[in-house]
């Protein structure tokens, strides 16, 4: 009952701020579109680059969106109330990251099929691409949330967050792009997808602890 109330609150807030939350999605589309402009828009070239380009754009878009995860709550004082709740902060944080992903990451995952079209990515492999993003973007959200928790109290924290988090996201990028790349050329993509799944499980179980520790430390001063 409480969990649904928390989810409801976050989703309702997200809906009211939907303009703000659309930023990562728009960013994703623009960045993806930049690559053909910067390179040769020749279809075979685009096709070979497509998995990597889509994945890098998705990675950057998710990270950009993570700064707003705790910022507004920090500024209006509701983050303190979350920390003072007798409920398990790890659960509250898990739900928060999840709803944030629903609002920012999931649209991205769905739009990726459209981006695949732009980059001449073979349609038969789009399922794997979407799957890789579906498994990978939540992991990226959690990693970004760790960075957000550590930088929430900083004024210029938004600039620091990507620097802190990007190295940690390399495995997700490698396996995600590999899955999409293999599927595009007809090779089996199960192995990297399984790795992504394993990382998702790790992120779900361990990241909340790092995030709550980071929040408590950030709010101590």
């Amino acid at each position: 009952m409480k969990l649904t109330a928390l989810i409801e609150r976050d989703l309702r807030l997200a809906y009211r701020r939907r303009g703000e939350l659309a930023t990562p999605v728009i960013f994703f589309v623009i960045v993806t579109a930049l690559f053909p402009l910067a390179l040769n828009p020749e279809p075979t070239l685009l096709r070979s680059l497509a998995p990597g380009v889509i994945w890098v754009a998705a990675l950057l878009a998710v990270l950009i969106g993570q700064d707003s995860l705790f910022k507004t709550d920090y500024e209006d004082g509701s983050l303190e109330l979350m920390l003072l709740s007798p409920l398990s902060l790890e659960w509250i944080v898990l739900l928060r990251v999840f709803t944030h992903w629903l609002a920012t990451g999931l649209p991205l995952v769905m739009l990726s099929s459209l981006m695949a079209l732009l980059l001449d990515y073979p349609m038969h492999a789009v399922g794997v691409l979407v799957m890789s993003l579906l498994l990978g973007t939540p992991v990226l959200s959690f990693l970004g949330a760790v960075g957000a928790a550590l930088t929430v109290g900083l004024r210029r924290g938004g600039m620091l967050l990507p620097i802190l988090v990007l190295p940690l996201t390399v495995p997700v990028l490698i396996f995600g792009a590999a899955a999409a790349g293999r599927a595009a050329v007809g090779e089996p993509a199960a192995a990297p997808l399984y790795f992504l799944g394993a990382m998702l499980v790790l992120a779900l179980t361990l990241a909340p602890f790092a995030i709550t520790a980071g929040l408590r430390i950030s709010l101590e001063s």
Binding site: K2, R17, E75, D76, G77, E80, S221
Partner: protein, 215 residues
């Protein structure tokens, strides 16, 4: 009614020292507050009132000394302690994108044992019945503060920690808060608040702590 304890509830502070960077905000502070008492934390701007209150809630940490609730020192992750307190900070903790009603529903979700479904009555009590469904971003500062005050009434807790609760409140608001505090204290609660303006909570005893007087 807060459930009665076999022994009186005591919030005590032993030899508490809190530093902020280079400055010592309080050195070897000692006090006790028991059921039905209020503690007024006073001091000039920047003396450390907010920091002290945050240390008492467990949000901040003391450099030396201990805070004890019912004789037990506060533990790192004290869910039980957090279930016994309500906090009103400088910033209201009110989401501007939600209405007062929605804000209270969200705050309720974070409580251990909220009083069931009397959001309307609570809003009535703080004088926000008419504006219950407008987004708080469209309300005045005083009305947002009243929304935050309403949050205090969502559950029966022993401890109220209020940081400058009178800020933004008009005369009627001050009266409202005074009444709320008296009701809380008579029900067996403890209140600790930082304020520039002294409150008259007679007949309840109000102790005083003044920060920033020693080096």
């Amino acid at each position: 009614m807060i459930e009665p304890m076999e022994f009186p509830s005591v919030l005590s502070v032993d030899n508490l020292s809190v530093w902020r960077g280079e400055r010592c905000l309080c050195r070897e502070l000692n006090f006790r507050v028991v059921t039905g008492e209020a503690l007024q934390v006073q001091g000039h701007n920047g003396a450390g009132k907010t920091t002290l209150i945050r240390v008492l809630t467990g949000l901040g940490r003391a450099d030396e000394g201990e805070v004890r609730w019912r004789g037990e020192p506060l533990r790192r992750n004290d869910a039980e302690y957090r279930a016994s307190l309500a906090y009103l900070g400088h910033s209201n903790g009110v989401k501007l994108g939600l209405s007062p009603r929605e804000n209270l529903a969200a705050a309720s979700a974070l409580l251990a044992t909220p009083i069931a479904n009397n959001v309307d009555a609570t809003l009535e009590r703080v004088g926000l019945r008419a504006h219950a469904d407008m987004p708080c971003g469209m309300l005045s500062m005083g009305q947002r503060r009243r929304t935050a005050l309403a949050r205090l009434l969502l559950a029966h807790v022993h401890l109220w920690f209020l940081d400058e609760p009178l800020a933004s409140l008009d005369m009627a608001g001050v009266t409202l808060l005074t009444e709320m505090l008296k009701a809380h204290l008579s029900g067996g609660g403890i209140a600790v608040f930082a304020t520039h303006q002294l409150l008259d909570l007679a007949p309840f005893p109000v102790k005083n702590v003044v920060l920033g007087t020693s080096a």
